[in-house]
Symmetry: C3
């Protein structure tokens, strides 16, 4: 390194090095981690106690706790503990549990609000991922927020893209969840 010119080059090199020294900190518009899961919800209807993974626990005045209410289920709150699988087969071996609640919150279309966690305790993943967000069910693909995580997902943030992969009347639905973390730690 003999001349000011080579110094300048060196400095500019350092500049870019430093710029990229905070990889998770720059606004990256591509995910630092990407995971796809499915989860399966079977709602209690008064007769399927053994198979049900969720139950209605709140209803508007015109509803009850075994049949989803009129007016697009507006006001029904369901609590769930749903199996998470790697593919879209309900009978696949679960890799974790989706635990939380959803409630229907519109009177003129199917829309829900979600607050839940993915809970993992396997060789592959240990820890939790926490989600909240609006779910306009009739839209093919919709985004909710990944607001935090623990364990393997310590402090992670991101976006989860949800698609209804299947639904059978008011008893069963399956969601595909494409989790894109943009802050990974």
């Amino acid at each position: 390194m003999k001349s000011p010119i080579s110094f300048a080059i060196f400095i500019i090199f350092l500049f870019f090095l430093v710029s990229s020294a905070h990889p998770g900190m720059q606004r990256q518009y591509y995910p630092c981690k990407n995971l796809v899961f499915y989860f399966h919800d079977v709602i209690y209807n008064g007769q399927n106690a053994d198979n049900a993974t969720s139950a209605i626990v709140g209803a508007p005045q015109w509803g009850n706790l075994t049949i989803l209410a009129d007016k697009f289920h507006f006001g029904n709150i369901a609590v769930f503990d749903d199996p998470i699988t790697l593919d879209n087969n309900f009978h696949s071996s679960p890799v974790g549990r989706a635990q939380g609640m959803y409630f229907y919150d519109t009177k003129n279309t199917f829309t829900a609000w979600l607050g839940f966690s993915f809970v993992f305790n396997s060789a592959q993943h240990k820890g939790t991922i926490n989600f909240i967000g609006a779910d306009p069910i009739m839209v093919k693909s919709r985004d909710i927020s990944v607001v935090g995580g623990t364990g393997d997902f310590f402090m992670h943030r991101g976006i989860a893209t949800i698609m209804t992969d299947s639904f059978e009347g008011d008893v069963y639905f399956r969601l595909r969840v494409d989790i894109k973390f943009y802050e990974c730690w």
Copy 2:
């Protein structure tokens, strides 16, 4: 660039350049984006099914689903799909929907807890903003957390300052929401 001195100046210049190369990443105490909205809540009381935008869906043992409960409504959960407007006029054209829940959670004063989303799908804004936080209703101005966003509000975080702009008995209230994003992406 002929002397070590000019080099030193150049380096110091670079230093500040690099320091400010992560604008969203430094702790900025002024918002990178600021939006003000109003939303309007008309709670179902058994007789206003057409106008109601929210409904009681949970109540304590001493309550019911058409009248807010005694003891400062402690234990009442309401689910809502409320119109968002740019001004404080209930009849203004909505620019989005506020969807989620609130519940009253104190026995000796009016306090609520909020979990909801702003859902936009217009020329001006597309995407969602997700909020949670405590709402001590009797305090003039109170802050909740903006924990995430999608679409135009991808990965945003911030603070929302809420003020009760109007309320009429137990049937109608209007909130002014001043959203200050401090992480904008």
Copy 3:
């Protein structure tokens, strides 16, 4: 500063200076702030209206609003306004309130999901801390997400480690909450 060598040293020094110029922004795996609190929950059972700090407000079809339901309380939603203390004594002077909800969401073990805030308004702390996450109650120590804060906890994020410090049947429990902030602003 006479030689290229000393320049190089100076530049390398600057490099590290710049690298550490974003202290909160680098992924730090040690907390920037650490707080420990206890909070105390006395659930309403139909006879303890004066002492109760929480109430069942949602239940599955097989439950009711004064007794926690069969099947590990699956589907019970409770709303709470619990005193926060600095030690594990229920009679200690509260330093704030824990306000929000929990619901039991598993049929074959005790598991809950939490959405709540710590609300402080004292000489020591002013502001709120917002939490969500899965609470596998039978695990000794479990982590939930701190997704935001206001006031003294403006924009903070972190992890809260929860331990059941005491529980007495279905009436009283006390949680120890060890809050570790990793983003402090």
